[in-house]
Structure formats: C-alpha cells, structure tokens
C-alpha cells in the first residue's frame, strides 16, 4: 500500500475556488523518463464552455477520458437544453475513472462554474473517488505543496489573490519537482466565461537559492 503514495503522475496541477468562480493551474512539462518531451504542454483541457479538466498521470489515459467526457457532455447539453453543471461533468469523469480503475492511471481535477453551485472544484484521484473540495492539487509536484497549502490557503480569496496563489504554488512545486517545469498555465472560469493565462518560466517568482538571469561576471 505504501508504494502507492503520490508517485507516477509526473506533473503539478491544482484548482482553487474563489469568490465567483474557479482558477485552474498546471505546469507545462511532459517527460518520457528523464527527457523533457514537451516543455510547453497544456494540461488544462476544456470539457464544455464552463467546465475544464486538469490532467495528471498517463497522458494517453487522461486524453481518452477527457475525449469521452467531452463527447458525452456535448450530447447531454443538446438534450438538456442548457449548459451542463460542473457536478455532472465531474460525475462522468469519476464514472470512467472508477469503472476502469484497474487499467487507468489518471489523477484529475474537474473545475468550473454553473449557476446552481457557482464555482466548484472536484478532485478525482486514482481509484475514482469523487470529492468536492474548496481547492485540490494533484501530480507528483503536489507532494511538495502540502505544507505550503496548509499554511497559506484561505477561503474566499478574490480573483487576483487566487490567481497569484495558484501561480506561486505551481512555481514552488516546479522549483523542487524534476517532473514539473516550464510555464504556469491558468484558466479562470466564472459567470462571464473562461479566460486563459500564461506565466512564462522566466517571469515566475524566484525562491531560495534561485537567481535571476544576468550577465556573465567574467565579461564585465
């Protein structure tokens, strides 16, 4: 049982509820072993206009799950006559994750906005448990964030506070987790829709023992 602690899902993802919506965030590194196959990947996938998915674990598994859920939600929206709720999207993701648990390696976070529950975040970890939470993290980088989040997270943040919080968290994880890196992508979803944002690697906050780019001191 011990070997199945946070492992495998090589990435950092998170989603946070704020006053009026949600912020999803992720790093952009995809590795095959020790090689960085893609340094600018996009791990935040759209399911509907108002619901997005953070993906960690096997890229293939999460792509297949998100494709199916996007297809089902598309049909559901047409039949229902109004936009799907975040809870419905999360339940569909959970259903796939749970029923196929023996051969999927996918840790996912579903987040979005609907008029019934406002901003909601749902975690779907390995095994297919479904948990609605005020914020959720996933991926190998999330191990490095538990202490920081225990101390720094507060409920009812504003949109800007929440976004800065997400960027700082992912940046901290990138600083220590070899499997996470690159840029921080965020998606903000609220009643007005969804907005993508991009925080370049060299624009992220610097931490202990990290230095900004500078000139070679020998060429003074």
């Amino acid at each position: 049982m011990d070997a199945h602690g946070p492992h495998g899902p090589y990435t950092t993802i998170m989603a946070v509820e704020y006053n009026g919506g949600v912020i999803l965030g992720a790093d952009s590194r995809t590795t095959t072993g020790v090689y960085v196959a893609n340094r600018a990947s996009d791990k935040i996938t759209q399911l509907t206009d108002n619901v997005y998915l953070c993906r960690s674990g096997s890229a293939a598994d999460t792509q297949v799950v998100s494709d199916y859920v996007r297809y089902f939600l598309n049909q559901h929206t047409i039949q229902l006559g109004r936009e799907a709720t975040v809870k419905t999207a999360a339940t569909l993701v959970k259903e796939l994750a749970y029923q196929n648990k023996s051969f999927l390696q996918a840790g996912m976070i579903v987040a979005g906005w609907d008029k019934y529950d406002g901003g909601s975040v749902y975690a779907v970890p390995l095994g297919g448990t479904l948990l609605r939470l005020p914020f959720a993290t996933g991926g190998s980088g999330s191990s490095y964030l538990y202490g920081f989040l225990d101390q720094a997270w507060r409920p009812h943040m504003s949109k800007d506070e929440a976004e800065r919080f997400v960027v700082k968290s992912i940046a901290l994880a990138i600083a220590r987790d070899g499997a996470s890196g690159g840029v921080v992508r965020t998606v903000t979803v609220n009643e007005h829709g969804a907005e993508r944002n991009f925080f370049a690697g060299d624009k992220l906050p610097l931490f202990h023992e990290e230095i900004p780019p500078g000139r070679n001191s020998l060429l003074a």
Partner: protein
C-alpha cells in the same frame, strides 16, 4: 500498470455498470478476449471504525482522514453515513468503493420506499443485503475493498455488525475495524458493559480513538461520533480530542543512554 503486470487485457472500456440499474455503455476496443480479473489495490483509504451498543442505542465513531499511501491527503472525509431512518454505515478502506456502496444502498432504500407499504428496512435487513453485495463481488474476484460497520435501532432492538471485503459478517455488542481490532477491541472487552449511558459510551469511544491517534499512523485528530437511537440517526460535527504529551519521561528520554530513542 496493473493489467500489464497480470498479462490480462480488458476487452472493453466500461462506462456505467449493471449495479447502477441501467444497461452499461460498453465501447469495444480491438483486444484479445482474456478473462477479466480485477482484485484491485486501494488508493484513497479510511482507517478504523469503532462501534458499541449502549443503554439507549448504538454509538459509532470514525476519524475524517482519507489517506493516500502514507500521506494524509484528505482531512475532511465523512466515513459515517445514515441509511434510511434507523441505520448507520461506517467504512474502512477504499473510499471510491464506499461511495459506490452508498449508491447501491440508496437504490435499495428508494426501491423499497416505492412499494409504498409502510415497510422500512432496518439494520438487520441492510446488514444482510450488504453481506450479499460484498460476498458476490468477492466471488467475482473484484471485491469492494472495504470493511463496513453497520449499526442501528429499530422497534427497540439494538443492532451492531460488521461486513468485510470477503463477505465475512457477524454481529456483536462492540466491533472495530482496521487498527481498531488490535488496539480498541481489547479495551472494549475490558471496559464495555450493557448499561452504559451516552456519556459513558462516548468516553469509552473517545479513549479508544485517542489511542488510535497516538498509535495508528493513518489516523488524524479529527473525528465524528454517530448516535443511533429509536429516534433516529445523529452524526456529530467533526471535532478533535485533547492529547497529552507532557509526561516527564517524554522530555529527555535518552539522557544516560545516548543514541537510543
């Protein structure tokens, strides 16, 4: 991945299942048809659940931790749930399987209510049904990775029982799962008696939960107690126990024998 290790391949990608009541949507992939075996590993797990009968009913306690291997990943997981009017179920083990079991029990209660004949399902009925569910899954080599504690009061009869993931089931005056079997049951055997008041029963459970917090690495100091009486099920808000660390012997245990612990 699991299926690679076993050399087994699933021949369909499953969405929905028969337990949900509607026909499953199965998408066939082109793969060889080899018998499907599951027998999973648990991922998000809950630790011990304790239960005792007392004068007016049944008390069941559990903490609110969802562990992920050795990490305490989720700290507010409700592992005690009411079923119908008279029963409470508490779960140890894989939380996703517990969530599925709750859906199955929900369907059972609703289907029974639809007969509209004033018959309600009591604790022995739910216990029996759960046992069948767990045993049948086990026979498919695809168990619900849980141990369940089942308690309630109906028509003046107090009921408390256990069902394991193998389909083993029994009733008793006091039950425990997980670490609780080793640490709490002995205390129950020594200190439980039939006429305990609510206060005495709560104190006994809290004493055991404290021991579990000290000695079970997966336990956290945030618990709920449920009280089931003839009047129904009441689950407390999560609360924490007072711990004691100020023993003399704790402050400098290695003085005189450096290197020991």
């Amino acid at each position: 991945m699991r299926w690679e290790e076993e050399g087994m391949k699933q021949n369909a990608f499953i969405m929905g299942n028969k337990l949900m009541g509607s026909s499953p949507h199965v998408f066939s992939l082109i793969m060889p048809s080899i018998p499907i075996t599951h027998t999973q590993t648990p991922y998000v797990t809950g630790t011990s659940v304790l239960g005792i009968k007392y004068k007016d009913g049944v008390l069941i306690a559990a903490d609110t931790a969802g562990s992920y291997g050795s990490t305490t990943r989720y700290k507010s997981v409700e592992r005690l749930r009411p079923i119908g009017q008279n029963t409470l179920v508490g779960a140890t083990g894989e939380m996703s399987d517990f969530q599925t079991i709750l859906q199955i029990l929900d369907r059972l209660i609703i289907t029974n209510a639809m007969f509209d004949d004033d018959n309600t399902l009591g604790p022995p009925d739910i216990h029996s049904y759960l046992n069948r569910v767990m045993y049948n899954q086990r026979n498919k080599l695809d168990p619900f990775w849980n141990t369940l504690v089942l308690g309630g009061v109906k028509n003046g009869v107090k009921y408390l029982g256990n069902v394991t993931m193998l389909g083993l089931h029994y009733v008793d005056d006091h039950v425990a799962t997980g670490f609780g079997i080793h640490l709490a049951q002995p205390i129950f055997r020594n200190e439980w008696n039939e006429d305990m008041t609510l206060e005495q029963g709560t104190k006994l459970l809290e004493k055991c939960m404290l021991v579990l917090f000290y000695r079970d690495r997966s336990a956290i100091n945030k618990m709920q107690i449920a009280n089931i009486t003839e009047d129904g099920v009441k689950i407390s808000e999560p609360y924490a126990l007072q711990t004691k660390w100020d023993y003399e012997a704790f402050s400098n245990p290695t003085v005189g024998n450096e290197g020991s612990w």
